[in-house]
Amino acid sequence: MSVVELEEVVVLLGRFPALAGASLRVDAGEAVLLQGPNGAGKSTLLRLCAGLLRPEAGSAHVLDSDLVRDRRSIRARVGYVGHQSMLYDDLTVGENIRFWGRAAGVSDAQQRASTDRMQIEDRLFDVPVNRLSAGQRRRTAIAVAAARRPELWLLDEPHAGLDQGGRDLVDGLITDAAAAGGAVLVASHELDRVEPVVDRRVTVAGGVVYEQDPQVANRADGTTPEEPHHVE
């Protein structure tokens, strides 16, 4: 069963084709690393899978939902951690966790479990987010996402700003999610770090996904991608 199935997807940011015919398939129980240079389209790919962007052309299915027609229903089922923390700066860590938990219909026990898991210290609960370090914010953001027990994890540079302990927690999260039958897409530049915990890696470049697996590369049809089809 595939959790993510993208075929020749074009995604526009304004008028710029951030994804220019990207195809990718991720199965349940699989953790996939997205590597590639800055501006290659990794973040756009993750945001697309979170249901935050509209495919301009091609077909995109995530969690059995067609993203061209319905992007709303999958959103609460993915755990998206992006560059922005999606936290309210003026609220404390505890208030943020409670608000986002309730908004997503998460029980208090689940919230507690995920904050424990991300080892967010109790003393931080009363600290406003704007006084947190980048790493503490990242931990809080991951804890908020983890509380929902997402079926699909979409992690954009999850290690950025985290200390050694935090990095280990993220690695554990990825391994556990995949082991539990979920799927994980993680974009990262820290290949050494992520490589051991993922099942395979693909390269995103020029808005297109390239399979890194050697035998697939040999079997592939050529180097020039055909023209993308557009949907009127």
């Binding site: 008028r15 590639g36 693909v202 020029g206 399979e211 697939v216 590369a217 050529g222």
Partner: protein, 261 residues
């Protein structure tokens, strides 16, 4: 949707056709005749003197302005219901002409008001205030059309504002009317017997010419917008090719993934 054939249109960039040229020439001739009727053939008014001649621009502009924004509202509804690109462009084109017409209405009205009402601006008049607010709402609508986003995002956002625009004009009109409970505006002058036949005809004719000019501009503005949209689409293909080329030196002979084995 087949107003424009694709690649040639992109090179030529022509928005005219035989029909529009005919319409344009007819409107032009109509304007010539209207000028003759308005300035030479008709007599000055007994009380308003020569100022009455402004009516032949003022009235058609006002009608065109309100007509144009009705079209914008209809277009907005169609965008929201059917996600129609065609209607989005029509709504935008119509609003631009409508804004121009509203401005012309306000300017000619103001010039007319100076000798007749003895003021450039009369706060006590419902239609004047409604048209002013319409003009301002229109500026807001046009500002929203220029905001960033993909074509679809821009269309939807504009459609909501375009639809609300007409709602707001009605609310403003009602409230101003209630506020002043009066208008010193000329009653629908056509109905009055005081207007002689030739004046009535000239006024009627001016409205016909005004609507003709509206449709002529609408067609051209729409086609221009359509060509721009077309160009965006061609631009998109090029942009996609360029975007993919970014990967060349990086991935070399690596293959794009087309679904795993």
């Amino acid at each position: 949707m087949s107003v424009v054939e694709k690649p040639e249109a992109r090179r030529g960039g022509v928005t005219g056709s035989r029909t529009t040229r005919l319409l344009g020439l007819t409107v032009l001739a109509g304007i010539g005749l209207l000028l003759y009727l308005a300035f030479v053939a008709t007599d000055p008014d007994a009380t308003q003197k020569d100022a009455v001649r402004l009516m032949y621009i003022h009235v058609p502009s006002a009608l065109v302005a309100y007509f144009a924004f009705t079209v914008t509202a209809i277009g907005s509804v169609m965008v929201l219901i059917k996600r129609s690109v065609w209607w989005d462009l029509v709504a935008g084109a119509s609003a631009e002409i409508g804004t121009l017409a509203a401005a012309l209405t306000l300017i000619t009205g103001s010039i007319w008001g100076r000798p007749i009402w003895n003021t450039w601006w009369e706060w006590g008049d419902v239609r004047l205030l409604t048209t002013l607010v319409l003009f301002m709402l229109a500026l807001g609508y046009l500002a929203v059309r220029r905001l960033e986003g993909t074509a679809e995002e821009r269309a939807k956002r504009a459609a909501v504002v375009g639809l609300l625009l007409i709602v707001n004009v009605v609310i403003v009109n009602r409230s101003v009317e209630w506020w002043n409970n009066q208008t010193i505006h000329q009653e629908s002058t056509i109905a009055e017997a005081a207007i002689e036949d030739l004046k009535a005809f000239t006024l009627f004719f001016s409205i016909v010419v005004g609507l003709g000019a509206y449709f002529w501009m609408l067609i051209h503005r729409f086609r221009l917008a359509w060509l721009e949209r077309q160009d965006e689409r061609f631009g998109l293909d090029e942009a996609i090719t360029r975007r993919r080329a970014e990967a060349d030196e990086l991935v070399g002979d690596g293959a794009r993934q087309g679904g795993r084995a």
